[in-house]
Subunit: 453 residues, 2 copies
C-alpha cells in the first residue's frame, strides 16, 4: 500500500511542547488532536492498541487546557497522552493481558502507577498490546519502521505507539527484556528502573525482578513520568522508591564507562557491533576512559558470570509464576500458547531449595556487579543484537536486556543507532538506586552522540 | 433461641484425625460431612461465610479419600476443609473484599497461597467474611462463644468458622491485628508469619507489613498449612520464604522470655492481666527466666518506642494504599464506610519524604527489637485486652497485635486464657525468619499451660 504509506515515525515529546501551554501558543487539546490524527493514520497499520477511551481523553485534555491557562497544571505532565500496557490495571478499561483467558476482564481499579499518572493530569488514551501474559507469544503489533518486522515485546504496543507520536509515553514492564528491546526496535527511549523503584501494585507481573518500565519520546518526558509516579505512590510497598530530582537530571559527562558484551554479543550483527565500536571510539576521543573484559578483571569476571543470566532469570521467574500458570492451565490449557505450556512444563519440578539457591546466586551476581560502581560511572552496550528482525511470530533476542533485569539495576535504551534503516538502541546500564545518575549520563550521551547517527 | 442453641464451639484438628485415614478408620469425606453438619448448625447464627462451593468440596473429598486409601495423599493436609478470607483470590468463587464495590467480582485466578493449598489436596469450602477491604468496618459475623459479641476482625469469618469446627483452618491476613485479634476472640490458634514469609500474590492487601495469616484448630495443622504453601509457592517474590521443618517443630522449653506490655496494657481488663500474670508465675516456677521493662533495659526501651506502634503502622499503611482508596472514592464514595473515608482524608497530605522517614523509623524499631534475640527466646504478652467485647459494630482494640505487625516478626495467639466465659489468647512473638522457633516454644507452652485454664 505505497500510496497510503505514512511518513516516517516521529517522536512527539510532551514537556518540550508544554513550554507553549502557559502562553496559550498551544494547548493540551491541540496536542491530543494531533495524537488522534496520528492514531487514525497509524493504528490500522501497526495495531498498537487493545482498546481506547478517546472521549474521556478529549474531556480530560479540555480540563488540562483550562488548568494550564489558569497557571495551575497538576504537574509538568498534565495533559500528556499516555498508554498503559495491557498487563497493568485500569478502572475504565479491561485488562486482558494478551490472553483469551482474560478477554473483557475488569480489575475495577487502577494500578498504583496509573492512579498516580491520572492524579498528575496525564490522559490515558488506551491500553497497549502486550504479548501473552507479558511473555513471548506476540499479539500482532507491527513495527512502524517496517510493518513486516516485529516491534519487539512484551511491551509491543507501548513502543510502537510512542514511536509514531500517538503517545508521548507509555507504561511497559520488564522482567527479561520487555521494555529495553521494544524501545530499541521501535526507536524510542526505554527505561527500566532499579528493581522496586516504581510501585507495581496492580501490574500482573509477579516476578521479583520485574519492573514497571517507561517508553517515551524524550529523556525529559520519561524521567518526569517516573518522578510523578514515585512522588504519589512510591516504590513497591516497603521500599523507598526512585531517588532523584524533580525534573530530568542535567547532562553529566562520565569519566569512566565499562563496555559489556553480554551473552548477546555472538548474536549481534556485524553492523550493530560496528556502530557500538564507533560510538566507543568517539567516547574515547572525548576523553572518557573505557573499561572492557580485556583491560579490567571485574568486567571480565562479570562477563563470564553473565553468560548464564538468561537461564538464571528464567528459573527465578518460573518458580515465582508457576502457581499462576497452573491456575490458567486448569482453566483451559487450549487457551495458552504452546510457548507458555512448554515453559510451564520445563520448570515443573523446581523445588523451593532450587529457588533459594537461584536467589542466592542472583544476589552474588548483584554484589559482583556493584563492585564496578567503585570504578565506573555506568556500563554501555547494545540494547539488542541488531534492528528488529523480520517476521511477527518472534519478538526478538532479549539477551542484551537480560543483565540489567537480573541485576535489578536501571537501564535505558537510547535511539542513537540505525542498522539497514531500522533503529537500534545504545543501552546505558546504571547502578542500583542510582537511576538519576544513569539519566544524567544518558542525557550527555544523547546530546554528544546524536549528530553522529 | 435457647432451644436451638448449639453446643459450645469445639475445634476440629485435621492432622490428628488424618492418622485414621490410612487404615480407613475414618475418611476425608466423613470428616467433611461432619464439617457440613456443623455448617448447617452454626452458619445461620454466626455468618462466617460470604459464599461456599459445597458440591466441589464433596467431590474433592471423595478424590482425597481415594488417595488416602491408596496410600498416596498429596500432602498431610490432603482433604482438609479450609476457608479463604474474602480478600484473597479464588478462581471458582468471587472475591468481594467486604465491599459493595466488588460485589460478584471475579479474579479469574487463584491466589498463590490458594493454588498451593489446592495442589496439596486441601478442600476450599468457601470464602470467609472480611471487614471492608480488611480494615475496620465489620460485615456482620458474630462470635460463636456469644453471638452478641464481635468475632474480631478483619479475618472475622475465618476465625469464627474455625472456632466452631466447620473448618480445620482458614487463611486470613494481618497488617495491624487482623489474624491475632480474631483468633484470640474466637479461641483458635492464630499465626501471623514473619513478613514476606508466605507468598501474598493474589491477596488484596497492598501494605509492606501485611502478611497472609493462618487461623487453625491446632498448632500442628497451622504449621503444616504454612509449610505446604511455602514449599509450593515460596514467600513473597524474591524472598526465601518461611524457614523450618516439614512438620510441626517439637516442643522446646524456652530458657528466657520477655514479657511485653505494649500500648495495649492500659486498656487490658483486670481479669486479663491477672491471667497473664498467673501464667508468668507458672513459667517462672518452671524455671524460665523472665525479662520485663523493670529488669531489662532493652525491653524498657522497646516498650517506650512501641507506644507509637499503631500510629506509625497506620501511616505506613496509609501511604501504601492511598492510591487504592482514591480509585474507590472516585468510583463511588457512597459505597465506602465512613471509617474508610475518614482514613483516606486523614493521610491525604502525606508526602513521599514523610513515608521514607516512617520506613526508616520502622527499620530502626525492627533493629532494636532484634537486639532482644541475643538474650531471649521469644516474647509473650496478651493477644487482646480481654475477651471479645459486646457489640458488632467494632472489631475490638488491636493494640496488642500491632507490635508484631510493625516489627515484621512471627506471632501466635494460643487459646489458653478465658475471661468471663470468653476465650483470650496468650500471644507468643518471635524473631524475624525464626518462625519455627516460635512454634516450638508455642508447642511447649500449649502442652505445659493447658491444664491451668
Amino acid at each position: 500500500m505505497p500510496s497510503t504509506e505514512p511518513a516516517k515515525p516521529v517522536l512527539r515529546p510532551y514537556l518540550a511542547a508544554a513550554r507553549g501551554f502557559a502562553s496559550g501558543a498551544q494547548t493540551p487539546r491541540q496536542f491530543l488532536e494531533r495524537s488522534l490524527e496520528l492514531f487514525e493514520l497509524w493504528e490500522p497499520r501497526i495495531g498498537a492498541f487493545v482498546c481506547t477511551n478517546l472521549p474521556k481523553a478529549r474531556a480530560a485534555a479540555d480540563a488540562s487546557t483550562e488548568r494550564w491557562r489558569a497557571g495551575t497544571p497538576l504537574s509538568p505532565i498534565d495533559g500528556m497522552p499516555i498508554g498503559i500496557k495491557d498487563i497493568i490495571e485500569t478502572v475504565d478499561m479491561p485488562t486482558q493481558m494478551g490472553s483469551p483467558l482474560f478477554a473483557g476482564w475488569r480489575s475495577e481499579k487502577d494500578a498504583a502507577s496509573v492512579r498516580a499518572l491520572r492524579d498528575a493530569g496525564a490522559l490515558v488514551l488506551g491500553k497497549t498490546v502486550t504479548t501473552e501474559f507479558a511473555a513471548s507469544e506476540p499479539r500482532g503489533t507491527r513495527n512502524p519502521w517496517n510493518t513486516a518486522h516485529t516491534p519487539g515485546g512484551s511491551s509491543s504496543g507501548s513502543a510502537a505507539a510512542v514511536a509514531v507520536g500517538v503517545l508521548s509515553a507509555a507504561l511497559g514492564t520488564q522482567v527479561i527484556g520487555s521494555t529495553i528491546r521494544p524501545a530499541s526496535f521501535c526507536g524510542c527511549i526505554g527505561f527500566k528502573p532499579s528493581v522496586n523503584a516504581l510501585n507495581r501494585e496492580g501490574s500482573h507481573d509477579y516476578q521479583s525482578q520485574s519492573c514497571t518500565g517507561i517508553l517515551g519520546a524524550s529523556l525529559e518526558d520519561v524521567w518526569q513520568i517516573a518522578h510523578e509516579i514515585v512522588t504519589r505512590v512510591g516504590g513497591d510497598a516497603g521500599t523507598p522508591g526512585l531517588q532523584g530530582p524533580e525534573s530530568l537530571p542535567p547532562a553529566a559527562k562520565p569519566r569512566r564507562l565499562a563496555v559489556l558484551e553480554t551473552a548477546g554479543w555472538d548474536s549481534a550483527s556485524v553492523a550493530a557491533k560496528q556502530q557500538l565500536n564507533e560510538c566507543v571510539m568517539r567516547l574515547k576521543f572525548a576523553g572518557i576512559e573505557i573499561r572492557t573484559r580485556t583491560n579490567d578483571d571485574t568486567v571480565a569476571a562479570l562477563e563470564t558470570d553473565l553468560l548464564n543470566a538468561a537461564e538464571l532469570s528464567h528459573r527465578c521467574n518460573a518458580f515465582e509464576t508457576r502457581w499462576f500458570l497452573r491456575s490458567m492451565r486448569e482453566r483451559d490449557s487450549d487457551a495458552l500458547s504452546r510457548a507458555m505450556l512448554d515453559r510451564a512444563r520445563r520448570y515443573e519440578d523446581m523445588t523451593l531449595a532450587d529457588h533459594r539457591a537461584d536467589l542466592k546466586e542472583r544476589a552474588r551476581l548483584r554484589s559482583l556487579y556493584n563492585e564496578l560502581a567503585a570504578d565506573c560511572d555506568a556500563c554501555i552496550t547494545l540494547a539488542a543484537p541488531s534492528g528488529a528482525p523480520e517476521g511477527l511470530s518472534f519478538t526478538g533476542n532479549p539477551e542484551f536486556a537480560v543483565p540489567a533485569s537480573l541485576l535489578g539495576v536501571p537501564a535505558l535504551s537510547l535511539p542513537l543507532f540505525e542498522v539497514y534503516d531500522m533503529p537500534l538502541g545504545l543501552q546505558v546500564i546504571g547502578f542500583f538506586d542510582r537511576d538519576a545518575e544513569a539519566f544524567a549520563i544518558a542525557n550527555w550521551l544523547m546530546a554528544s552522540l546524536k549528530g553522529g547517527r
